[in-house]
């Protein structure tokens, strides 16, 4: 357990939605629900994606950019209804499709980081997104097992 509970480590540029907490899923690679995701299981399915094989369900998905794809608008609504949506999308830079889709689906979304999250947050950490205060904070660091993917 870390002493970093609730400690704000990253300021977010802009954000929508409710305050959420969840397991961080962090990637240095951009994300698209059309290109990368199996929208029936929630698994990142794109061969060679940095998060291939990981499940986005109930996660706080932290990713540097949005990739192509107008499909996110309906896709986020669809995966929310299927119960496999993440709790929040925390983008470095995003595009309107992701924003429109997340707002339509009622999923918390943000864009812009005051500093890069890599090294500060690792996959498995419990993090909190507060759209009103525009903060991303670590609630609890993950216990590091043999393998920590990032």
């Amino acid at each position: 357990m870390s002493a970093a509970r609730g400690k704000s480590i990253i300021k977010l540029g802009r954000a929508f939605g409710g305050v959420v907490e969840g397991r961080a899923l962090i990637s240095r690679e951009g994300f698209s629900p059309r290109y990368d995701l199996d929208r029936w299981s929630g698994l990142i399915s794109r061969t060679g994606h940095a998060l291939e094989g990981q499940n986005i369900k109930d996660s706080i998905l932290i990713t540097p950019s949005a990739k192509g794809g107008i499909a996110a608008g309906w896709a986020f609504h669809d995966i929310k209804a299927k119960g496999i949506a993440p709790r929040a999308f925390v983008f470095g830079v995003t595009n309107p499709v992701m924003v429109q889709g997340a707002i339509f689906a009622g999923i918390t979304i943000s864009e812009g980081w005051s500093r890069e999250p890599y090294g500060l947050i690792e996959t498995g950490d419990i993090v909190r997104v507060d759209p009103k205060r525009r903060t991303l904070s670590v609630v609890r660091k993950a216990r590091r097992a043999a393998d920590a993917r990032g």
Binding site: A66, A72, G73, H77, V93, N95, P96, V97, V99, Q100
Partner: protein, 413 residues
Amino acid sequence: MRLTREERKMLKGERGEAVRRALELQIEVGKFFGARRMVPVSNVHMMGDIEVMGEAGKAFLERLAQLNARCAVPTTSNPRCIDFDYVAKLGQDPDEAAKEKELIAYLRRMDVVTADTCINYQTLYQPHLGERVAWGDTGTVIYANSVFGARSNFEAGPAALAAGLTGRVPEYGFQLDRHRRGTFQVNVKARLTDLADWGALGKLVGESHQNYFAVPVFNGVKRNPGADDLKHLGAALASYGSMGMFHMVGVTPEAPTLKAAFGGAKPREVMTVTDADIERVYASYSARGNPLNLVVFSGPQQSLLEMKTLAALLDGKKVAAGGNLFVTTSNGVKSAARSLGYLQKIEAAGGIVLEGVCFYILQNIARIRARNGWVNLVTNSAKLANIIVAHKFNTLLRRTADCVHIAVTGQEP
């Protein structure tokens, strides 16, 4: 946001519940991007098919239709996931095909023109310089902004439909002058003789600059590009780079000069693309020892002139035994291709021409791939080579004539 009297009436529900909900969504999106007002649009293009919408999306449309929602401005639809004549042949789910029909009926009740095409800019509607539209499908948006000088953001299905219902969009992004200026320069030294070359250029520039607000300015293009060239360039930039706009000096309307394209500002970066760079793109794809038995011309749908080229390349030839050749286009283009005899030549060679769909969104495509044992997919579309990897295809980008050669012989030239 500053709302007009009419918009305040909409928010109170005086224009109906569907319009109220649509405007609420638009205002939240506008607030996120710091929009100050809504602006009217004259044309809407939306994506909506059962593969991407799922049950929840269909139920949403059903509720809207029950609320007597009607589009306030002309609204057309992007490709769907099913060509009803090919459900059985492709092994798609009849249940999903039935749902797709229901979905189309809801859209028509809302006065959506279900043209099912992603080349609306070639076949349906050509906005003028400065015209505000709300288009979905990233390839349509980048074409509208760049080639016509019209104004649109990426409008995802629900956002585009909202724009159709309210006849307006929040003013942010490419609706504003300040986001339309070039941000970096691309000196083009490559010759770009095939559609796939233009797509490869888009891949090189897009992949290295993934940012919606990055606007490349192409300078030094030697050839006078055609509409299909710019279509493949734009589709690739949008697909690999999530970009919504580019300039091409001396070609696109907001770039009469390099200086004008940057609006007086300096480029943040200058990159150069040569023939060798384009060749390296092709060399990066490999069949990995697996059969070359699937060639696809899709993403975006084929224009009539692309159909003409394919017909000429395939005339008197046959797709190799065990091979497959798919083409997707719109109903309008397919009809014209039939009248002109292009369709017959493609079909006589063994090609399958699907209408109203795009290959990568075909319902059940991952299972169709698995059932046919397809591993490789050869295409002249850089966009398709990118997007369909999600369905576990290994893709190979090749020039148009090389794609046809592979379809006919099963071998690389």
